[in-house]
Every structure is written in C-alpha cells, then in structure tokens.
C-alpha cells in the first residue's frame, strides 16, 4: 500500500512549497496565540510539558486539544470518553477531506495520507483558496501543512516553556487574524447568486446552531445545510462557486 516512492525532497520543496509558506504567514500569526495558550493551559491543568507537546505533535487539532485538557483538568482521565469526544469535535474534517478528494486522485495514496495528517481548518482554507485561484498543487499543500505544523508545535513549546509568566495572549485580539484571513478568502468566492445564498444560509445556521449545539457541531450543521441548498439551487451545475 505504501510501496510507491516518496517524492524526492528536492522536487517537493520547490518554489510552490515556499510560496505556500509565504501565503500561510497571516494564518500562522493567528495560530500562534492559540498554540501558546494551549501550552500554558495544558500544563496548568495537569499535563506534563512532554505530554502537552506530544499531544500537539500527534493530534494537531486545536479545539480537540483544548477540550481534552479541560476534561483531564476536571479529573476525567478516561480513554474512551476523551477519544470519543475528540472524534466528535473533529468530524468536520470529513467534510473538508471529501471536498479536497477530487483534486488528489493523482497523488499516490501514501503521500495523500501524509498530507491528510495536517488537514486543519487553516490549511484547508489556504488550500481551497489556492485551488480557486490557480488549481491544486501537491508541493503547495505540503508547504502549507509544514508551515502550520511547525507553527503549532513551536507555539505549544513556547507556551509550555513560558508557563504563567506571560499574560493571556488571546486578550490582545490576535485571534482576530484568523477570521480576517478567512474573510479575505471567502469574499472572492461570492461571485454568483448561488454562492451568496450558500454563504447566507451557512451564516444564519452557524449562528443559530452555535447558540444551542455543543462543541464544533455548528460547523458541520451549517456546512451540510448550506451546501445542500447550493446543490439544489444550482440544478444545472454550471453556476458553481
């Protein structure tokens, strides 16, 4: 299954790779305060520094990590409960993976699996923005993934090391870097009546379900409803965003 040759490093780390790293910079700035906060919170809630860092390296999923360390902090050290909660929080990635799947059919399975390891909200946003503008590129996805993975790991280590010496990094408003960046990626997609309808549906349902549903379910519910509406509105299929 993994018999294919890996892409030689020299060919993988090309101009597109570095271009992706550059394009990821705005989002990296948004990830940084979250990673630092996770490191600080993780250790203060009872993880050892090595455990907090290992979780960022192995799981690499912000929301799920925050929630599981909160559970551990409350004394819930239960394998099945934490793992199941993690699964539920991360189910939205199934939608992102499905949406990227048609572009990765030519990428060998093993390499597709490696790329999937860092399929997070931020890398997905950067990748679909690139696909919309200039099409899919494997080195570009590798570049984005590497940039975000290194940022998440480094900021966790920073948070663990600095501990409670630093004031709450999220209080500065740095977390706004993420929605601002995503907005810049959303606006160019709103080119047709269908895509505007999809956006409005997602907006209303996301807010309504974020008020009443736990965790990240609002993303799944809003995305399912909005894309269903888009598919139905489109009918003919020539008006896709």
């Amino acid at each position: 299954m993994f018999a294919e040759k890996p892409l030689p490093v020299k060919r993988a780390v090309n101009a597109e790779f570095w271009r992706a790293v550059g394009d990821s910079a705005p989002v990296m700035l948004g990830v940084l305060p979250f990673g630092i906060t996770y490191g600080v919170v993780g250790v203060s809630l009872g993880l050892t520094p090595a455990e907090a860092i290992l979780m960022s390296l192995v799981v690499c999923a912000g929301a799920a990590q925050f929630i599981s360390v909160t559970m551990i902090g409350m004394g819930v050290v239960d394998f099945s409960l934490i793992v199941f909660t993690t699964l539920l929080i991360n189910l939205r990635h199934l939608l992102m993976g499905a949406s990227l799947a048609p572009y990765l059919t030519k990428v060998p399975l093993g390499r597709q699996a490696v790329l999937a390891f860092v399929l997070v909200d931020e890398s997905y946003a950067i990748m679909i923005n690139r696909i919309r503008a200039r099409g899919y590129d494997e080195s570009y996805q590798l570049g984005t993934n590497t940039a975000l993975y290194v940022t998440w790991a480094t900021s966790t280590i920073l948070g663990v090391a600095m501990g409670e010496y630093i004031p709450d990094p999220l209080a500065w408003g740095l977390d706004f870097a993420m929605p601002a960046t995503f907005l810049a990626m959303l606006v160019p997609r709103l080119v047709s009546r269908t895509s505007v309808a999809v956006c409005l549906t997602a907006a209303v349902i996301a807010v309504a379900s974020a008020l009443y549903l736990p965790g990240k379910w609002y993303i799944i519910v809003a995305c399912l409803a909005a894309s269903l509406a888009g598919g139905l509105l489109e009918g003919g299929g020539e008006d896709a965003a």
Binding site: D23, P26, L29, T48, E51, L54, V58, C60, A61, I72, V77, F79, I82, V83, T86, L87, R92, H93, L94, L95, M96, G97, A98, S99, A101, P102, Q112, A116, L119, A125, N129, W172, L174, F176, A177, P179, T181, F182, L183, A184, M185, L186, V187, L190, S195, V198, C199, A202, A203, A206, V207, A210, Y218, I219, A222, S227, A229, G230, G231, A241
Partner: protein
C-alpha cells in the same frame, strides 16, 4: 510521561487522522459521483462562512450585535477591505490593527 496519558494521546491521534483521511480514502476507492460533486463544490464557502460568522458575531459565546463588539466592527471593515483590494495579507493586517485599536480605545 504517564503511560495512560500517552495512550489517550495516541487514541486521539488515531481518530483525528481517521476524520482527516477517511473521506479521502473512501472517494479514492469509489470515485466521486457527479451529483455529490455538485454538492461538494459548496463545502468551501459553507465552511469558511461557518468559521467566520460565529467568531465575529458571538466572540464571547453569545450573540453580540452591538457597537461594543470589536470583532463585529473590525469584521465589517475587513470584509470591505477584502472586497476592495482582494488581498489576504492586507485584509489580515488592517483587520488586526482595527481590533487592537478598538480595544485600546475601549479601555
């Protein structure tokens, strides 16, 4: 590192990887049906919107449509900048500057 904690972390890693690769592996085997592809095309717009709107309209977890919501004001400004200039880095930089300025003025 405690063995039970390492086990939990590995378990979290396995299920998270499943959510990231599961759908891709499935579609690799069976292909993407046309009707489903028409639907999938709207997933990016749906997810981007679902990531942005609650974080801007309800930064504290409850709906805040007042002028005291810095994220709402900066979000509107960012949307205008995004529309006018079509530049990700510029939108992020000015949007972030707006939030920091609003916070500084508010305190």
């Amino acid at each position: 590192m405690r063995p039970d904690m390492v086990l939990i972390i590995l378990g979290m890693g396995v299920v998270t990887f499943f959510t990231r690769f599961g759908a891709q592996a499935l579609f690799r085997q069976v292909g993407v049906p046309t009707w489903f592809d028409r639907w999938l095309r709207h997933v990016p717009t749906g997810i981007l919107t679902a990531l942005i709107v609650p974080s801007v309209l309800m930064p504290q977890g409850r709906l805040d449509l007042t002028l005291h919501n810095d994220y709402l004001l900066a979000g509107l400004l960012s949307a205008l900048i995004a529309y006018r200039f079509r530049n990700v880095a510029l939108t992020m930089a000015l949007g972030l500057a707006a939030v920091i300025a609003l916070r500084w003025l508010g305190n």
